[in-house]
């Protein structure tokens, strides 16, 4: 009776109804064959996957069909896996806030099978040999369900196979998920395009206390390096040198003691100039107009622009001319979780593939706001979605080529979007920066532990209260206040001798 119970996606609702009416069915199933269910422990960033619950208005109507989501990708995956492979999988999904949180969880003994760290944490995990390599099956393009291999953008594929850790390419261990650059979200009424096109905006006295950056030593170090090497980065000689990309990568990963020593004063200057170092508030502060410019990852940038637009408030996104940080998050399997279990590994790889199915990519991109590394390969749904979001026929339009991402050839006429002219600096630009932006991008690599400790110490030095920031006038005020407090305390302490009144003549105390 139980085996006949369909678990496929179309019957999901029936199953739930059945479950409510006859709960003993499910119970017997679990008791009978618990080993048939593969448990997959997945950890991901918060709000980094489509969780479903879309209402009808949110449905995305593409030429190839309507895309909507009710149960979210995790539940849909469980149903899809049963339909496709005939086996049950139970996803235990959890979230974390930062790469460092994830790493602490792993060192404190939590086990996960599949996690989604950023590139530098992936490098650390790879260096420490904690990762399970992706299987050869995963990369077989002839298998229909290998949506990742069949759909990953050739541009990303090149990056993943071209960079190595311990002699192995990144792509052997990591399947990309979302990617982008860092840039500046700014309010065009307060900040001009030129001002936003350089990292010096962070030290620009015109925006004193009106810009924010991330509260993280790594994220803050990158713009500091860019400001430090500004002249060199912008010089034609440097830009036109044959090994420009190697030199750029080297420069943006320079952690030599001399460079760090020079970076600290610049970081202090930035600290004096910024509104705050934010972890979460950056987007909100931008939308509410508390700050005029904000360093932001491109996906969050697009989100911020959307939020502001809902309030009829127009923001723009710019990537500074000096250079930018190319970042990506991706799925890796952990040895400690998979433990050589092929069933589990298959489920983990199927999870990656399910998320890489073009319609699911669209769902994810709509829900999360970031840009997926999947271009869809033969399937045009993802390009259709971008066109659906940004395409325009009338008015002031521009041609926006995306061939580099979708087919690997930026001159490819099939992948050009005709978009409103202002999209060149807005969401389309934030989600799919043009190739020239990636030309000046560098991946910030993983720093060894001792460098990280130094970087953190520098960050602490900058963030701590320093006596030398205090002006003489402030000192005077502080001394005055402290003196006053001292007086009050003294008065309380010696109140008996101060307030004691002399005995008046004519009175005789009995004691």
């Amino acid at each position: 009776m139980l085996q006949g119970l369909p678990l496929g996606a179309p019957m999901r609702e029936n199953l739930i109804v059945g479950h409510a009416a006859l709960p003993q069915w499910n119970f017997i199933a679990e008791a009978k064959s618990p080993s048939d269910v593969t448990v997959l422990k997945v950890a991901n960033w918060e709000e980094y996957i489509d969780e479903g619950g879309w209402d009808d208005e949110e449905a995305i109507e593409l030429d190839s069909g309507t895309i909507t989501s009710k149960d979210g990708l995790v539940a849909d995956f469980e149903a899809w896996y049963y339909e496709t492979y005939g086996k049950q999988v139970k996803v235990e999904y959890s979230t974390y806030g930062t790469n460092e949180d994830l790493y602490s969880q792993l060192t404190l003994g939590d086990t996960f099978d599949l996690v989604c760290p950023s590139e530098y944490m992936m490098m650390k995990l790879m260096k420490e040999d904690l990762l399970q390599p992706l299987s050869a099956r995963f990369f077989d393009p002839s298998v229909e369900y290998n949506y990742y291999t069949r759909g990953v953008s050739p541009y990303i594929e090149d990056i993943f196979s071209g960079n190595e850790i311990n002699g192995k390419p990144w792509g052997a261990y990591m399947a990309g998920y979302m990617w982008g650059v860092i840039g500046i979200v700014y309010n065009p009424e307060e900040v001009s395009d030129e001002e936003a096109s350089t990292w010096s905006i962070l030290t620009n006295p015109a925006f004193r206390k009106q810009v924010t950056i991330k509260d993280s030593a790594r994220e803050a170090y990158f713009p500091v390096l860019a400001i430090m090497n500004q002249e060199r980065l912008l010089s034609d000689e440097f830009k036109n040198s044959p090994d420009y990309h190697e030199k750029l990568a080297e420069l943006m990963n320079d952690t030599s003691p001399g460079t760090m020593a020079k970076a600290e004063p610049i970081l202090r200057e930035i600290r004096q100039n910024v509104y705050s170092f934010e972890t979460e508030s950056g987007k909100a502060d931008m939308v509410t107009g508390k700050v005029v410019a904000n360093l932001q990852w491109s996906g969050d940038g697009a989100y911020t622009l959307d939020q502001a637009e809902a309030d009829d408030y127009y923001l723009k996104f710019a990537v500074p001319e000096e250079c930018t940080n190319l970042w990506f998050d991706g799925w890796v399997m952990l040895k400690s979780g998979i433990k050589g279990d092929t069933e589990k590994q298959q489920a983990a790889e199927a999870f990656i593939n399910f998320l890489s199915r073009p319609d699911n990519v669209v769902r994810n991109m709509y829900y999360v706001g970031y840009t997926s590394v999947i271009s869809g390969g033969e399937d045009s749904q993802i390009f259709d979605y971008v066109d659906y979001c940004y395409g325009a026929e009338e008015g002031d339009t521009i041609r926006y080529p995306l061939g580099y991402f979708f087919s690997g050839d930026d001159t490819d006429e099939d992948y050009v979007i005709t978009a409103p002219a202002d999209q060149a600096q807005r969401q389309l630009f934030a989600q799919y920066p043009p190739l020239e932006v990636f030309d000046r991008s560098a991946v910030m690599l993983y720093f060894p532990d001792d460098v990280n400790a130094e970087l953190n110490q520098m960050w602490i030095n900058v963030r701590c209260f320093n006596f030398d920031q205090v002006s003489g006038q402030t000192w005077l005020k502080v001394i005055l206040v402290l003196g006053l407090i001292g007086l009050v305390i003294a008065a309380l302490r010696f109140r008996h001798s101060i307030f004691k009144r002399p005995v008046k003549r004519g009175f005789y105390r009995s004691d």
Binding site: T98, E100, S104, K209, Q210, D215, R271, V274, Y275, S276, F277, E278, T279, S281, T288, K290, N452, A453, N456, W459, I460, N461, R463, C464, F465, N466, F467, V478, V481, I485, R495, F499
Partner: protein, 263 residues
């Protein structure tokens, strides 16, 4: 089955709790504070803290914030508690509730709301970070100052005040010589309850304006970069400072009055 229940056994749950959640964690912190990354004994964390102008500066800044917050709270709370306790108003409890009700609302929510209000008032919070922090902290800790003061002031023996007037004291003299000393336990417990959390509470500072570290955020930053040893040492240093302060303020207390300060 010769089992005798004695009253002493009622301590067992509390003792178990104490050992698991107070003593054991403290020992762990102590262990980390006096070891280095490899686990061998060192005093480096201690000397490291006091030899860096940055960390000492942060300690100074935290104390400054805590002292200012406490003074502001006291200056606002004392008159309020005095009026609440001494006046003959009928709806006193409602008034008291107005002071207490904010405590029932989620702390984070209140600070976010305060941020909006402050932004409306002055525009850019980053121009006056110190002032804003003090406003935020005062806003948050004020009830903790009012309550003990209110309790001591209501419990005060009215006849002592009458005696003071009978013996020819003016209003000011009666206040300074009778009311103030009698409310000292309330002041001390209020000051302790405000000063100690104000030393370490960095959430308010972070939410209003996140740029300068105070002790709490300093500890946090060491922990988030896996340097548990330095972080633990700073926690121990803070613990010692707080211990010394509590011990010093104990000098003001008298045994009889201590019962007056309920909180």
């Amino acid at each position: 089955m010769n089992y005798h229940f004695s009253r002493r056994q009622l301590c067992i749950p509390y003792a178990a709790f104490l050992i698991c959640f107070v003593i054991a964690p403290l020992l762990v912190i102590l262990y980390y504070a006096f070891t280095n990354g490899e686990g061998s004994f060192t005093l480096g964390n201690l000397t490291g803290f006091f030899s860096s102008p940055n960390t000492v500066g942060t300690l100074f800044y935290s104390v400054l914030i805590a002292v200012t917050t406490t003074c502001t709270c006291l200056l606002i709370a004392y008159p309020a508690a005095y009026i609440l306790a001494r006046s003959k108003m009928k709806r006193k409890t409602i008034l008291l509730a107005i002071f207490i009700v904010p405590m029932w609302i989620n702390f984070t929510l209140r600070i976010v709301a305060l941020k909006e209000v402050l932004t409306l008032l002055e525009g850019n919070l980053a121009y006056h970070p110190f002032l804003n922090t003090i406003i935020g902290m005062t806003y948050d800790f004020l009830p903790f100052m009012i309550l003990p003061l209110f309790t001591t002031l209501t419990k005060m023996d009215e006849s002592l005040l009458e005696a003071a007037y009978d013996l020819g004291a003016g209003k000011a003299a009666a206040f300074v010589k009778v009311i103030l000393p009698l409310s000292a336990p309330g002041i001390v417990s209020g000051v302790t309850m405000v000063f100690l959390p104000a030393m370490t509470n960095y959430v308010i500072l972070d939410m209003l304006y996140n740029s300068t570290y105070i002790m709490g955020s300093l500890i946090g930053s060491y922990f988030s970069s896996y340097d548990w040893n330095s972080g633990s040492m700073i926690s121990i240093i803070l613990l010692l400072i707080i211990f010394l302060l509590t011990w010093a303020t104990n000098g003001f207390r008298e045994d009889d009055n201590r019962r007056g300060a309920l909180l």
